[in-house]
């Protein structure tokens, strides 16, 4: 492990990248198994599933940054898990909004 210490892996970032990789793998599998044609949505540009995923991910990043910048990351609840209780940041709202946005993007764009 010591020779990748410079990469400074942490559990949360590892989970994030694993989820991202799984999403990409799923999308690749879907593209191969169920090929689809481009379609034109509310942006009036032809998009594929991959394009819509890209837009959703970028929007998710922007939504999280806007939330951090304008609303902040105050704790909204404390979960009584383990010895040290886990504080839940209001940033999870941004995550929820991102998921809703992603669903909307996939349905309408």
């Amino acid at each position: 492990m010591s020779n990748i210490a410079w990469m400074a892996w942490t559990l949360p970032t590892a989970i994030f990248f694993v989820l991202l990789a799984l999403t990409l793998l799923t999308m690749t599998y879907l593209a191969a198994a169920y090929p689809e044609a481009e379609r034109v949505g509310i942006l009036r540009i032809p998009t594929t599933r991959g394009d819509r995923l890209f837009i959703s991910l970028i929007l998710a990043a922007v939504i999280h940054l806007l939330w951090i910048g304008f609303i902040g990351t105050d704790s909204i609840a404390t979960l009584p898990v383990g010895e040290e209780a886990i504080e839940v940041s209001s940033l999870w709202f941004a995550t929820v909004i991102s998921f809703v946005t992603a669903v909307l993007v996939f349905r309408t764009v």
Binding site: M7, A8, I58, I68, G72
Partner: protein
């Protein structure tokens, strides 16, 4: 007819995937890891959550004020050089000869600045502008215009902008010239028969035909100027004060000057996000501009 599908070609792309993974994906993952942590060296990291991002997006903190100041400075710089280079490039392209040996001569002269490496361009202008030994600085000071890019903010900005215009207007001009060359003579003859003015020819024939290349020129020049590092770094070093410190210069100062890897990582991710969004918008507009036109033509 069914096409034979052979997926073996993917193996030929494999080396590229490996190289990109090694040179881009792994470093990017590392930057993401750094952006959530703090370090004092020796590969020891401490979890900081979204702390750096909070600081970065809050203009009342040191990091945030530096980020936003350099971001606005950089956007202003990009806007100024686009506002100069695009019209100037069009004018140069319009006044270029259409045939004969002079075309080749013009193309070579225009291409020269593009072939000079960034740091050399910086060095050229750094010496050119010096009041003691530089031709430009010496002449300006001797005809009564006080000019010193080391101590005066306006002079530093003027030098960096003129340098960029000198370096890159050729690119816009060459792209526009290529666009102009693709216009068939029949268009001009028709305009002449109709008695169109020079301005009418420009707005109705030349500008629409240059549409696509202009979009490419704006995209290239915006991205390049938004990521500019070497030239202002060599000429002004970001000074006087912080007046020509653009985002990339600020980023290098934080990452390599202060060795604040967490702050630098958060800044570079936001910087990267802005660039990705702008690229995507430009790319989408570019690839769909032609499609829309075909569609409307098809409907008409």
């Amino acid at each position: 007819m069914d096409k034979t599908v052979n997926q073996k070609a993917w193996f030929l792309v494999l080396p590229v995937f490996l190289i990109v993974a090694f040179s881009a994906v792994l470093p990017l993952m590392t930057v993401v890891n750094y952006s959530f942590q703090d370090t004092f060296g020796n590969n020891q990291f401490f979890w900081n959550g979204v702390g750096w991002f909070k600081e970065l997006l809050d203009p009342s903190t040191d990091l945030g004020s530096r980020f936003f100041a350099s971001l606005w400075r950089n956007l202003f710089f990009s806007a100024v050089i686009l506002a100069i280079e695009v019209p100037l490039g069009i004018i140069v392209a319009l006044s270029m000869p259409r045939d004969g040996w002079r075309v080749a001569a013009c193309l070579v002269i225009l291409a020269l600045p593009l072939l000079i490496p960034w740091n050399v361009v910086g060095t050229i202008w750094q010496i050119f502008g010096r009041p003691d030994i530089g031709l430009l600085g010496y002449v300006l000071n001797n005809i009564g215009i006080e000019y010193n890019y080391v101590s005066n903010e306006f002079d530093a900005w003027a030098t960096v902008i003129v340098m960029d215009v000198w370096h890159w207007t050729s690119l816009v001009a060459l792209l526009c010239y290529a666009g102009l060359k693709s216009i068939p003579d029949a268009y001009y003859q028709a305009a002449q028969i109709d008695g169109a003015s020079r301005w009418a020819v420009f707005t109705a024939i030349q500008l629409p035909k240059m549409n696509r290349v202009l979009l490419i020129a704006v995209l290239l020049r915006f991205m390049d100027s938004f990521m500019i590092y070497t030239e202002p770094f060599v000429v002004t070093g970001g000074g006087p004060g912080n007046s020509t410190t653009f985002v990339s210069i600020e980023l290098v100062k934080i990452a390599l000057g202060q060795f604040d890897l967490g702050k630098a990582a958060a800044l570079s991710l936001v910087y990267n996000l802005i660039i990705i969004i702008v690229c995507w918008v430009f790319y989408t507009v570019m690839t769909n501009a032609g499609v829309d036109r075909q569609r409307t033509q098809g409907a008409a």
